[in-house]
């Protein structure tokens, strides 16, 4: 039995291996458990609000009547943010990946990343104290000249604390997310495609239109969806900037509310059934953002398999 000394392991090392791989596995499973736990505990704490009789919920008409105006408000704010941020973010990403001088590109990318580093509460304070004040003359003008459109119906808010201002602040916050993801995708464009286009006499813009954008389209879509996830869940910017109220179509009057801001404004003083109602609202927000993020990640992972072929 001399061969056993090679195949037999000494106790200490083997135990170390088992403990370590076990700990690593446990940590991985813990993450899955946490995500599952988020859903589970939100549901448990939300049940009282979901089963309560309608007249006990704030507003007196049940949970559904309470939640749908703020779901719509959340969507309005997020859509405004994306409509503003998407073209600018793609432009910035193109600038850094294809237009800026090579030596400057990474430094400029870092400058844009600084936008992501600023805490959301500071954006909220900036939006409330600076942007809202500066932008209210523009709202007056919109109300006077474009008032026939329902979204610009007057009278404009004198303080400028409207859903449009909140949307603009949100757009600044999602810009770095969309930019950094699209930039990564643009840089992955096969060099041969770009050079082939340039060799055929294409200008830089034609090269981008023919080689870069078609390649990057799925990546851009998922970047925008991740930005959407961030815009849906952002709390402080809206809580500080928006002077909330009932659901209104006009973007330049005060009014509307988002789920996240509703929770932040009311949770600290809430008790009893109100806590359950707010947690149920959080559950709705969680389900919406989870859906958006899963679709975005699914698009990215599908895209990865394609681009591997290059």
């Amino acid at each position: 039995m001399t061969t056993t000394s090679l195949t037999q392991s000494r106790g200490a090392g083997r135990a170390g291996d088992k403990v370590f791989s076990g700990a690593a596995l446990a940590a991985g499973c813990l993450i899955l458990a946490v995500l599952f736990g988020v859903a589970l505990f939100l549901v448990i704490q939300a049940i009282p609000a979901l089963v309560a009789s309608p007249d006990q919920i704030q507003g007196g008409e049940g949970f559904f009547a309470y939640i749908w105006p703020i779901v719509i408000g959340t969507l309005i704010a997020a859509v405004i943010a994306l409509v503003i941020a998407t073209p600018v973010a793609i432009g910035v990403a193109l600038f850094i990946s294809h237009f800026a001088p090579r030596g400057l590109a990474s430094g400029l990318g870092y400058v844009i990343d600084l936008l992501a580093a600023i805490p959301s509460v500071v954006y909220g304070a900036w939006g409330a104290a600076f942007l809202a004040k500066e932008i209210s003359p523009a709202y007056e003008w919109l109300a006077a000249n474009m008032g026939w459109l329902p979204i610009f119906q007057g009278p404009a808010s004198a303080t400028g604390k409207t859903i449009l201002t909140a949307g603009i602040v949100l757009s600044v916050m999602v810009l770095p997310i969309i930019t950094s993801l699209s930039r990564e995708i643009f840089l992955q464009t096969p060099k041969l495609h770009e050079e082939a286009a340039l060799a055929l006499g294409a200008t830089r813009w034609e090269m981008i239109k023919m080689a870069v954008l078609p390649f990057a389209r799925p990546g851009i879509v998922s970047a925008v969806m991740l930005g959407l996830g961030r815009a849906l869940g952002e709390t402080m910017a809206v809580a500080l900037v928006l002077s909330s109220g009932a659901l209104t179509a006009s973007l330049i009057q005060s009014g509307n509310q988002t789920i996240a801001a509703e929770i932040a404004l009311n949770f600290p003083e809430a008790s009893g059934l109100k806590v359950s109602t707010l947690i149920a609202a959080g559950l709705v927000l969680f389900v919406i953002t989870l859906g958006v993020n899963m679709i975005a990640r699914w698009i990215i992972s599908r895209h990865k398999e394609f681009s591997g072929a290059n």
Binding site: A117, G233, N293
Partner: protein, 370 residues
């Protein structure tokens, strides 16, 4: 004879024919600035409007000239370039504006004596009214909030780093493309998108169910922040572990070193600079989170050095409450001065952490031998 007397005419090269001269953008820019200033002078001058009008004039001028001299394709290229550069400049505007606003409004608060060393304990609206009406100095500071932020963030880091790092080790060293590993990767990505307020509600709901309704302490906030921090740590550590060369692992195995010792003594030390900078960036991300702390730790005005009991203040929630519920509702100015001072401190903290992450990554990066 005549040919020697006339000076030679400098002909443009056939290669550069039909192109705008090199100086064209500068000429157009100068003209656009001058004309823009003139237009703005007529309707009332302001720097922001001047920039916008000049940019539009510059784009129109350059594209128009190019269309006339070079044709439509080149003009379209110029237009695209202008739009792309313009969007970058537009993206810079809010960054500059935010930093400027915070600097201008925050410096007076920060320079107040005792701003960093006193709390808001006992500071009532009466003091604020007095400082506005009689010019007494603004009292009260952010010591309690600073202490709370540091404690909560530290506890969150202590929870997140082991879990995040071990998960990354599992994914890179043990996962081998198993279903579980792919599920973890996918859900970690999904977790990065959880709204911060939902993370806060989860921690609150968890502690309400386990400890008792209304449990709000710094530890609950730390759990909420961990939910946000773990995925960031996992992603950055995973990237760093992946780029450790396989030759190092194989060399260790060839010497008969066990896998766990290989990971602890070879793989992690090689990647430690990247991991440390990733962790620092994760801290920078969660240190500014407001919503999860608001719903989990409440807000306090006095110093609380125990994360496991009682409400706790933090810098972001301090800013939020000082703006939304000023200490003296009739004279909100001292409160907003304190809020901006705290915002300046918070931004400085975040920027230092970002800078620190870059320095760590650069200083402790392993020698690549190239």
């Amino acid at each position: 004879m005549t040919s020697t007397l006339t000076p030679p005419v400098r002909k443009r090269s056939a290669l550069t024919k039909g192109q705008l001269p090199k100086f064209a953008p500068y000429v157009v820019l100068g003209l656009a600035l001058v004309i823009g200033a003139a237009i703005l002078a007529l309707i009332g001058f302001n720097a922001f409007g001047w920039g916008i009008v000049s940019a539009i004039l510059f784009t129109a001028g350059l594209v128009g000239w190019s269309a006339a001299a070079e044709g439509g394709r080149k003009a379209k290229d110029k237009l695209a370039t202008c739009l792309v550069v313009g969007s970058f400049l537009v993206a810079l505007l809010p960054l500059i504006s935010v930093i400027w606003t915070v600097l201008v409004n925050g410096l007076p608060g920060l320079l107040d004596p005792g701003f960093l060393t006193t709390s808001m304990n006992g500071v009532t609206g009466a003091f604020d009214n007095k400082s506005v009406e009689e010019g007494a100095p603004v009292i009260g500071g952010i010591y309690h909030a600073l202490l709370g932020t540091i404690q909560i963030t530290l506890l969150a880091t202590v929870i997140s780093v082991p879990v995040g790092l071990l998960t990354a080790v599992y994914l890179v060293e043990y996962g081998e493309d198993r279903t579980l590993a792919r599920a973890i990767t996918f859900f970690v990505d999904v977790m990065t998108g959880i709204p911060s307020i939902v993370a806060g509600l989860f921690a609150a709901a968890f502690f309400f169910a386990v400890v008792g309704p209304g449990t709000k302490t710094g530890a609950v906030a730390a759990v909420a922040l961990s939910v946000l921090m773990i995925p960031v740590v996992v992603r950055s550590s995973e990237e760093m572990l992946k780029i450790v060369p396989n030759e190092l692992r194989e060399a260790a195995y060839a010497l008969g070193v066990r896998k766990w010792r290989t990971i602890l003594k070879v793989v992690i030390p090689t990647a430690i600079s990247g991991i440390a900078s990733g962790v620092t960036l994760a801290i920078a991300r969660v240190i500014g989170e407001t919503a999860p702390i608001l719903v989990t730790a409440g807000f306090a005005t006095s110093i609380n050095s125990n994360v496991f009991s009682g409400w706790m203040a933090s810098l972001p929630t301090f800013i939020y409450t000082q703006i939304l519920n000023p200490t003296s509702p009739s004279n909100p100015d001292p409160s907003s001065q304190r809020a901006w001072g705290a915002a300046l401190v918070l931004i400085i903290l975040v920027m230092l952490l970002n800078l620190g992450a870059r320095l760590i990554a650069r200083t402790f990066a392993p020698k690549t031998g190239r």
